[in-house]
Symmetry: C2
Subunit: 748 residues, 2 copies
């Protein structure tokens, strides 16, 4: 029922393999894009194409469409969903040495496509995550043309035009429209693509895996490589540390078209997330030579040794009888150490994945390091990232929770869908499993909630569990987020109906992991001016560019701008600047509280990931910490402070206070570091302008490494200060880097 | 890492296949058992062996051991755990027709064993659920001897001598000692065993599967059969209904050593559990003939068409934010209809599985029908039953929840264990998947509780999920019981510490399924006299036969006799007869209340299965409803009444009342039937001896099919009656078969 069926449109057998080997050069081609806006069958215009990219971007360039992210321009792109597009490129037959083969290679083509060589169909595929590598050698003429015909984007039904149309394909659902993503469904070649020339005896696949001993002092490395006609070639392999010193080496002769050996590394330097140690990487180099000693190819890859497990959260046992199960584990353990995960939900950094670059990835990852984050959840509504993303996370020590492309839909128990899912998940797992940053596989987003509608019995999720077990048994798998004990939401500072604020909500909550929670803020005024036409800018209103950019009718209530709630706290905004400042303040204070309260709930709670980190286009209002392409909102810096390894922190009751009201706060010292914190003092006071009143001083005892300390409760009557903002200041004696402050309001 | 490794001790390649085909005759052999009590290596004595059976039983017969179930005799059998045993049988080479092959076949050998033919090792296996079929033909002499060497029972550690020793094998853990099973670990040949002679062109394997259309009006049947050298044979196949009328037929010629065809059955008569319809079975007959038209073999099997799913329980959505997942589904749906499952936990009906017969199975299943049960949970501490059990459940319409042999242990992520588990689960799934009674696969018992210690990440459970998905995707799988929303326990009428009684406990509980709950009772006096020596019989005391038979120190508190609690309710027992009567009354009232209250919680609750149904030997006190071998306790009849399709039922607060106290009860009508119940009247009254007071009459409205009705609450002051038992009577006007009664106590 789930066998992988490779559809070949001709009787000729083409090679079909996993991604190109490291070090292989892809010769790019000059592509043109053909299309006919009205009739699917006939190409009327050929325009230049940028590869990797998207058909939408080529058309926009050729026909001078306004940029998709301004005003409501995205609507102009909608017709492209339902058209057929054809890429074409001509090339001369390359001069080949004896035994050399030439392949067409594409790292990713989105989503259903045919490939034609010299007008003959040679390949068909559904699925954007399975690379294509086709041996063209024996079919080449002196001048050749390759064509790729891209089918209309998959839709399981005509209406409604929303994410549910993506529920029978392995195409990320987000581009069908989300509360922070326009309806813009990309198509086309979205990753590296071109020709590869391979020498005789080239290695086509290789896999380096390892098993760590229980006490982590031995890495038993299994090396397997294979290829056609490599039998008889010699190989030499080295493992080098980060000073390029050779630690292990092997050499031998290839037998039976494969190279297989084991090697034992003693006392491996372990890979750690950046806040726990060094993300140590070794370099594996495999050199193959022909029987005259000439080098055929050098294959280089990075290896990080680490053991990852999900272990039981503390206190997850139920009481009494009848007794249910213990909660499922979500406590991450790396190399035997329990890690409190602080991080964020990563979404596509562009609407069109084809234009995401390694530079963009690196800038966004560096920004997350600045936030003191150690984990990204790669949310299942978006793409599985390009390879450079994972290379960077390996290098920089960021943990990656990776989801499959399923989100908020009920993906059916249907054979065709399950076949494609099996194919795509095989490709994804095989590509990513080598990365030490990979911490957790997850079936997808909110599939077990009522709007997802899947259950533990859904065959798609049982299949993904089975695939991960078979291909990458060393990495944990969860079927979706949230599972029992974990929570998603809320996504506002104050509940629309009950009026409950973030403080009360978090104080009563008790979850093993907070893996999504939002706190919306408007974008900065400078950004708003780049997306909202001047005549719409002030005052904001539903129905136009503000709504297109998610300020209105995005989710329930007046999300995401929430102007009514902001003005309820701060009074009517006189200017856009004022509205933005108040909204951004609310975001920062709300996020800060959630991060800190989740940390107080350690060790029962083991993870806190906000929704969301970044965004795929410039939104007018959104829960993101970073505006597109990489501009932090003020709340980003509040979150960064809440995620410091060590800090003084306060439990709060509410945001707005009346003079004379009894203000109560409970002080804590939070410590996620591996260092013990010596005894010290924290002084709490309230301030506004130059006025300051002291609440008291808490002399705290030693904090153990990776453990918090609950401190003293202080009470004071709110002074008779003027209406407006005031702050609770926590000052750690001699350690200003541990100080914290909370902005609150006095109302008269 | 998980590939199935078939260990062959010789270089000769032996056939290794799935169970014998239906209709194959197994010629039994005359076996002897050899052993040496002290030295493992050398056989000193040969004694007659009964096959199937157990080495323990052969030795007990030969050496005149007292029966294992009397007094503390089980201790005499302990040494056998650690010895090697050898079965031997001699046989003449059978006269074979051209092309005929002769096989050694064993349906199950427990647990690690070698097979030798004429002193040469030819096979080794670990695992009691994988049948053995070895082609001996080319190695036979005129006189042959086959030997089976049984290794000591597997133990992962020397101490403690308890179930944890079974945590690295696929041997049922129960025989290592449980709170109702003696430490008696069986070994030996436990299922059919002997020689099979197969004609040339015999079919070795066949598989009939089907897919029902969404609206259940078409069954798309896939038929596959295979064997060596069957190519060229003719086959004819018929499907016949229960009147032997041929409904479908196919014929053809075998190609490529296989027979493969599809057939579509229109409007199949569906299989239903007995209380929902008829358990309709068809008969599949495959006849193969050689090219001269002579019949090679007739293969006959039963087919039942049904669709089984686990669907969401009602009201399983969490409220508010942060929001966790919906509870996992445990609502059984058969053929599109939600079924409330009422049943029980089935345990091994014998300590030695080798002596379980189809007759015993049938008697126990018939008894369960008498209890109005529609489901057995085949608990993972015990064996997977012999084939006749599932045939009977198919025929009689009992649903079967089948667990794999894992229970209350942490089964490790170790390659060897996982290999054997893969082999054994493949055999189990392949054998059972054809049975329409099969409702649910489950990884095992209480694995996600603290005493189990496994989690969703345990590779053994991920492997079982994956195996079930691959081999039987149409049947639901859950990793263990309980999962979230489901409850196990309590196992006493009144909690030891809090004093909370079953009534209050059930009234406050809210679970999607109660899949274990116990209510212990002593065995009848007649049974006690067969297991407890006269001098120990009265008064009962710990330390001797009573304790060996689980009356003391079985679980927490004074379980399972609970004499202190019984006497706290009823006063000191003057005789054994009195103690037993009171204990049995408590069991019946407690069980009745749980079954009825779980039914009141429908549809949120969808299942109620007590712990346990039967027992493997005569216990002195146990939660079982039926004493060994098949003697109902009085509580059995109370449960039977509580499971009637339609009944009047009362919600209660407590067991013991004082005269003048305010007695409150809430009346319900319960309906699990597919019929609407017309409006009527229920009268409630209290009675003791000839005294009766009326609480009132509830005129109930029509009850929908498969739905309950909550009725009126009645209150009365408890009359000034003498201390002792009284009853609450519910009388349904004109429907005495729906009447109910509850025994309670008055205390002065």
């Amino acid at each position: 029922m789930y066998a992988l069926k490779t559809v070949l449109l001709t009787t000729m057998l083409f090679g079909f393999s996993l991604p190109k080997a490291t070090g292989q050069q892809v010769t790019s081609l000059d592509w043109e894009l053909g299309y006919n806006r009205d009739a699917a069958s006939e190409v009327l215009n050929w325009i230049p194409a940028v590869v990797p990219g998207a058909v939408q971007l080529d058309i926009a360039r050729a026909e001078k469409y306004d940029t998709w992210y301004y005003a409501e321009n995205w609507k102009d792109y909608l017709w492209m969903e339902d058209a057929f597009f054809t890429y074409r490129a001509s090339f001369d037959r390359p001069a080949l040495k004896t035994g050399e083969r030439v392949y067409f290679y594409a790292g990713g083509i989105d989503y259903i496509f045919d490939i034609l060589l010299n007008d003959e169909s040679i390949f068909h595929q559904e699925g954007m995550f399975t690379p294509v590598k086709l041996d063209l050698t024996d079919r080449l003429k002196s001048l050749n043309e390759i064509r790729i015909v891209i089918h209309p984007v998959p839709k399981s039904r005509k209406l409604p035009a929303d994410r549910s149309q993506a529920n029978q394909s392995v195409k990320p659902a987000v581009s069908y429209g989300w509360d922070w993503h326009p309806r813009l469904v990309p198509s086309g070649i979205w990753d590296e693509c071109g020709l590869i020339t391979e020498p005789a005896g080239a290695i086509a696949s290789f896999d380096l895996s390892y098993k760590l001993s229980n006490n982590l002092d031995l890495a038993d490395i299994s090396f397997r490589a294979g290829g056609k006609k490599i039998c008889g070639c010699r190989y030499s392999w080295t493992l080098q540390d980060d000073t390029d010193q050779v630690i292990l080496e092997k050499e031998g002769v290839c037998r039976n078209d494969s190279i297989i050996f084991n090697a034992v590394l003693k006392d491996p330097v372990l890979w750690w997330p950046h806040d726990q140690g060094k993300p140590a990487l070794y370099t594996s180099r495999l050199r193959t030579t022909d029987n005259e000693g000439r080098q055929i190819r050098l294959h280089e890859s990075k290896v990080g040794f680490r053991r990852v497990r999900l272990v039981m959260n503390s206190q997850a046992d139920p009481d009494g009888f009848p007794k249910s199960r213990r909660l499922p584990p979500i406590q991450v353990e790396i190399n035997g150490r329990r890690i409190f995960c602080k991080g964020t939900n990563w979404v596509n950094p562009e609407v069109f994945p084809g234009i995401i670059t390694a530079v963009r990835y690196e800038e966004l990852i560096d920004r997350a390091l600045e936030a003191n984050f150690n984990m990204f959840r790669i949310w299942g509504g978006g793409i599985v990232n390009k390879e450079s993303f994972y290379d960077l996370c390996d290098r920089k020590g960021m943990l990656v929770w990776q989801e499959f492309p399923l989100a908020c839909n009920n993906y059916p128990d249907e054979p065709h869908y399950l076949e494609i899912l099996k194919q795509e998940s095989s490709s994804i797992i095989s590509r990513l499993k080598k990365h030490p940053c990979l911490t957790l596989w997850c079936g997808g987003n909110e599939l077990f909630n009522s709007w997802g509608g899947m259950t533990d019995q859904s065959l798609a999720l049982r299949l993904l569990n089975s695939q991960c077990l078979e291909l990458d048994p060393g990495t944990p798998f969860i079927p979706t987020s949230p599972i029992e004990g974990m929570g998603h939401g809320h996504y506002v500072f104050r509940d629309f109906d009950s009026g409950e604020e973030v403080f009360a909500r978090m104080n009563r909550s008790r979850f093993t992991a907070y893996t999504e929670f939002g706190m919306p803020a408007p974008a900065s005024v400078a950004i708003l001016k780049t997306i909202i036409p001047p005549d719409e800018l002030w005052p904001p209103a539903p129905g136009g560019s503000w709504e297109s950019h998610h300020a209105y009718k995005a989710w329930v209530g007046n999300t995401w701008l929430n102007q009514d709630m902001i003005e309820d706290y701060f009074g009517k905004s006189a200017t856009l600047e004022e509205l933005v400042a108040h909204g951004q303040l609310i975001q920062g204070e709300g996020y800060k509280y959630i991060f800190e309260e989740a940390r107080r709930q350690k060790p029962y709670c083991s993870m806190v990931l906000n929704w969301c980190y970044n965004e795929p286009w410039p939104t007018a209002a959104n829960n993101s910490l970073v505006s597109w392409p990489n501009i932090p909102k003020p709340g980003f810096y509040q979150v960064s402070k809440a995620c410091r390894p060590v800090l003084a922190s306060a439990r709060l009751q509410k945001f707005t206070w009346m003079p004379g009201e009894k203000f109560v706060t409970e002080l804590w010292m939070l410590n996620d570091s591996q260092q013990e914190v010596k005894t010290g003092k924290v002084t709490a006071s309230l301030v506004t302008g130059s006025l300051k009143v002291f609440l008291g001083t808490w002399q705290y005892n030693n904090l153990r490494a990776n453990a918090n300390l609950k401190g003293q409760e202080f009470t004071i009557d709110i002074p008779d200060w003027p209406a407006g903002e005031f702050k609770l200041l926590l000052e750690a004696e001699g350690k200003p880097e541990w100080n914290s402050e909370y902005t609150l309001m006095i109302s008269q």
